[in-house]
C-alpha cells in the first residue's frame, strides 16, 4: 500500500510541474541527446570542418602573404586564371601519369610479392620483415637517397644504365626532360610496394585453403585457381587499396619536391607540388587554395567511382 501511494504521488507532482513550465521542460527533454553529443561534435567540427571551410574560402579570396592589403573576396577569379594556366594543365597531366604509373607498378609488384610470401619457405619470417622495411623509411629520406643514386657523380644507376647500353651517356635521369618523371616514380614504387604487399598478403591469408584443394581436385591448374579463387577473393581489397593509394599518391609531393622540385622545366610538376610551389615559394595562398579545391573535387569524383565499383563487386560476391 505504502509503495503504491508514493508512486502515485510522484506522478502527480511531476505532471503538476510539467503543467507549470511546459515549454522549457519540453525543450530540455528534446535537447538532451544533442547536449550529450555536443562536446564530440564541436571537437570534430573544430578539428576537421573548420580548417576545410577556411581553406575553401581562401580559394575565393585574394590571399598573398607579401601583400598586406590582400584578403578581399574576388569570386571565381582564381578559377578563371586556372583555365588559362599552362603549368596547371601540364601538372594535371603529370599527376595522371605519376599516380597511374606509380599505383600500377606498386600494385603489380606488391601482388607478386604477396603471392610469393604466401607460400611457406625456410626463413619466411625474416624475409617478410625485410620486405616491409622500405615502408619504415621516411619518404623524404628515401627521396634524397634515390636522388643521389640517380646522380652520376655519386650514384651507380646512371653507370649501370650506360653499361647495359640503355642510355648513350651516364647522365642524370632527373635532369632529362623526357624521362625525369621516372625518377620519382621509381622511388615511389620502391617505397610503396610494401603497402600493397602487406594488405594483399593479409587478404590472401584469409582465403580458405580448402578451396584451392577442391579446385585442384576439380581439375584447375595454377592459373585457373588464381583466376577463379584468388582474384575474386582479392577484388574488394584490390579496389579499396588502389583507391586509397591513388588518392594518396596524387596528393603526395614529398618525393618530387625533394628529388626534382618539379623540374626540369615543370616536367615533373604535379598538382600537389604545384600547390606547394604556389603557396610556399610564391606565397600566393589564394591561388594555391583554388588549385587544391580542383584537386579535391577530382579526387572525390574518383573515390566515388571506386566505391561504386567495390559495392558492385561485393554485391556480386
Amino acid at each position: 500500500m505504502g509503495v503504491r501511494n508514493t508512486v502515485s504521488m510522484t506522478a502527480f507532482v511531476s505532471s503538476d510541474r510539467q503543467r507549470s513550465t511546459p515549454v522549457l521542460r519540453r525543450l530540455a527533454v528534446a535537447s538532451e541527446p544533442y547536449l550529450y553529443s555536443a562536446p564530440a561534435v564541436i571537437l570534430i567540427v573544430a578539428v576537421m570542418l573548420a580548417p576545410l571551410a577556411l581553406g575553401f574560402s581562401y580559394a575565393f579570396r585574394d590571399v598573398k602573404l607579401l601583400n598586406p592589403l590582400s584578403g578581399g573576396f574576388i569570386g571565381l577569379d582564381h578559377f578563371r586564371a586556372l583555365i588559362d594556366d599552362k603549368t596547371f594543365a601540364r601538372a594535371l597531366k603529370n599527376t595522371f601519369f605519376w599516380a597511374g604509373a606509380s599505383v600500377a607498378l606498386q600494385f603489380t609488384f606488391g601482388l607478386i610479392l604477396a603471392l610469393l610470401l604466401n607460400r611457406p619457405f625456410w626463413g619466411r619470417g625474416i624475409v617478410q620483415a625485410l620486405v616491409f622495411l622500405p615502408w619504415a623509411v621516411p619518404s623524404f629520406l628515401s627521396g634524397l637517397n634515390w636522388a643521389w643514386m640517380f646522380n652520376p657523380v655519386i650514384g651507380p644507376i646512371p653507370h649501370w644504365l650506360f653499361a647495359l647500353g640503355l642510355t648513350d651517356a651516364p647522365d642524370n635521369i632527373l635532369s632529362d626532360p623526357h624521362n625525369a618523371m621516372w625518377g620519382p616514380i621509381i622511388a615511389n614504387v620502391w617505397w610503396g610496394i610494401p603497402f600493397f604487399a602487406i594488405t594483399l598478403l593479409a587478404a590472401l591469408q584469409a582465403i580458405p585453403r580448402d578451396l584451392y584443394e577442391a579446385a585442384s581436385i576439380d581439375g584447375a591448374n595454377a592459373f585457373q585457381r588464381f583466376k577463379s579463387i584468388t582474384l575474386p577473393f582479392l577484388a574488394p581489397t584490390i579496389a579499396i587499396t588502389i583507391l586509397l593509394r591513388t588518392v594518396w599518391i596524387a596528393n603526395f609531393a614529398d618525393l618530387i619536391v625533394v628529388m626534382t622540385n618539379g623540374g626540369p622545366a615543370d616536367r615533373t610538376q604535379i598538382v600537389a607540388s604545384y600547390i606547394f610551389t604556389q603557396a610556399f615559394r610564391r606565397l600566393d595562398f589564394g591561388y594555391a587554395s583554388a588549385i587544391a579545391v580542383v584537386l579535391l573535387v577530382l579526387l572525390m569524383a574518383y573515390a566515388l567511382l571506386i566505391v561504386l565499383l567495390r559495392q558492385s563487386l561485393l554485391k556480386k560476391a
Binding site: 578451396l211 584443394e213 577442391a214 581436385i217 591448374n221 577463379s228
Partner: protein, 354 residues
C-alpha cells in the same frame, strides 16, 4: 567406378611418423568408412588418396593405375570437404559445373548433368543462388552435387557432416546412404563419429595412432572387436572394461575386488594372466535371479529411449543399459549377471583372446 588398392602406405611429417604402414583394398562400389579419434591419421590417409598430401612410402592404385605421382586432377576422384569448400563467387550451378567447364565439356552436356544431379539432391530451385544464401544442409548437398556431376572413379568424404547440427546430421546420413545405394559408387568416408561409421559403412576401417586396428563389417567390429581400442571406440554407451586375472581351473575371471565371473569356456591364456573383461552395457543383466554379484546403484541416467544404470560392482563403475524404464533408486542394491556368451576377453597387450 573402380577399386582402390593401398599397399604399405606411410606418412611422415618431418621426423614424425603419422601413418605406420597401412594396407587396404577397397572393392569396386564399396562404401568404406575410416573411423578413429582425431589425430589417428584417417584424414591424412584420405588426403593421400586424393593427392593432397605427398606419399612418404608405399603405393596407392586407383582402378589398377598407380597414382602416387599423379596430380589430384588426374586421379579422377571427387572429394567432399568438411567445410564444403564451395566457391563463394559462383552460383550453385556454377559450383557444380566448374569441373566440367574446366574440361571444356559441351554446354548441353553440362546443363544436363547439373540438372540431373540437382534433381537427385533436390537442388532444382536453388541453382541460381550463391553458397552464402544456402543453409548448412543445402551447402552440403551442393558439395555432393559437385562430386556427382563428375561421375568419378571414387568419392572421398572428409567428415562431411561434422559442421551440421545433430538433427540435420541424421537426415544427411540417410541421404548419403540412399545416394550410395542408387549410384553404387566406390566411396571412402572419414569420420570420428562411430554412429556414422556403423550406419553408413559396408566395411569399417578402425584406425588409431597411425595404424589400422581392425577392418570388417560394422557388426563384425561391434560383435567381435579385435582389441581394446575397437571395443572401446565402437558402441555408445561404451563397453565396460574390467581389469582382473584369468583363472584357468574353472575358466573364470577374477576381478580386482576378488569377485568371480564365470566365462563359460576356456580361453587361450595362462592361469593367473592379467586380462581385461569387456561387456557392452546393453548385455549386462540387472535384477532377476542368477546374478553373479549384488551391486549398489550409483547413478541413474534416463535417456527416454532407455535407462543407463551405473552400478558399483566388480571393483569398478559398471554401466548397464536397459530399454525398460527402470525405477531403480540411487543407493538401492540389485543383482547383476554377465552372460558368458556376451563376454569379450582381452590379454594384457589389449588383443582379443579366443
Amino acid at each position: 567406378m573402380a577399386s582402390i588398392d593401398i599397399t604399405d602406405i606411410r606418412k611422415n611429417y618431418g621426423a614424425i611418423p603419422v601413418l605406420h604402414g597401412v594396407d587396404l583394398t577397397i572393392r569396386d562400389g564399396e562404401f568404406v568408412v575410416l573411423v578413429g579419434p582425431s589425430g589417428c591419421g584417417k584424414s591424412t590417409l584420405l588426403r593421400m588418396i586424393a593427392g593432397l598430401e605427398d606419399i612418404t612410402a608405399g603405393e596407392i592404385q586407383i582402378g589398377g593405375i598407380r597414382v602416387n605421382d599423379l596430380q589430384p586432377k588426374d586421379r579422377d576422384i571427387a572429394m567432399v570437404f568438411q567445410s564444403y569448400a564451395l566457391y563463394p563467387h559462383m552460383t550453385v550451378a556454377g559450383n557444380m559445373s566448374y569441373s566440367l567447364r574446366l574440361r571444356r565439356a559441351a554446354k548441353q552436356v553440362i546443363a544436363g548433368k547439373v540438372a540431373s544431379a540437382a534433381a537427385i539432391l533436390g537442388l532444382d530451385t536453388l541453382l541460381e543462388r550463391r553458397p552464402r544464401a544456402l543453409s548448412g544442409g543445402q551447402r552440403q548437398r551442393v558439395a555432393m552435387g559437385r562430386a556427382i556431376v563428375r561421375a568419378p572413379k571414387a568419392f572421398l568424404f572428409d567428415e562431411p557432416l561434422s559442421n551440421l547440427d545433430a538433427r540435420l546430421r541424421e537426415t544427411m546420413r540417410g541421404e548419403i546412404k540412399r545416394l550410395h545405394q542408387s549410384l553404387g559408387a566406390t566411396s571412402i568416408y572419414v569420420t570420428h563419429d562411430q554412429i556414422e561409421a556403423m550406419t553408413l559403412a559396408d566395411r569399417i576401417v578402425a584406425m588409431n595412432a597411425g595404424l589400422v586396428q581392425q577392418v570388417g563389417s560394422p557388426l563384425d567390429l561391434y560383435d567381435r572387436p579385435a582389441n581394446l581400442f575397437v571395443a572401446g571406440f565402437i558402441g555408445s554407451p561404451a563397453m565396460n572394461m574390467l581389469g582382473g586375472t584369468y583363472r584357468a581351473a574353472d575358466a573364470a575371471f577374477v576381478a580386482h575386488d576378488n569377485s568371480v565371473v564365470p566365462l563359460g569356456r576356456a580361453y587361450g591364456c595362462a592361469d593367473g594372466a592379467a586380462v581385461t573383461l569387456g561387456i557392452r552395457p546393453e548385455h549386462v543383466v540387472v535384477g532377476g535371479a542368477g546374478g553373479h554379484v549384488t551391486a549398489p546403484v550409483d547413478l541413474v541416467e534416463p535417456t527416454g529411449f532407455g535407462t543407463i544404470l551405473h552400478l558399483r560392482a566388480l571393483g569398478t563403475d559398471l554401466k548397464a543399459f536397459t530399454l525398460e524404464r527402470k525405477t531403480a533408486q540411487v543407493g538401492e542394491t540389485t543383482s547383476v549377471a554377465l552372460p558368458p556368451d556376451r563376454l569379450h576377453l582381452f590379454d594384457a597387450a589389449g588383443s582379443r583372446l579366443s
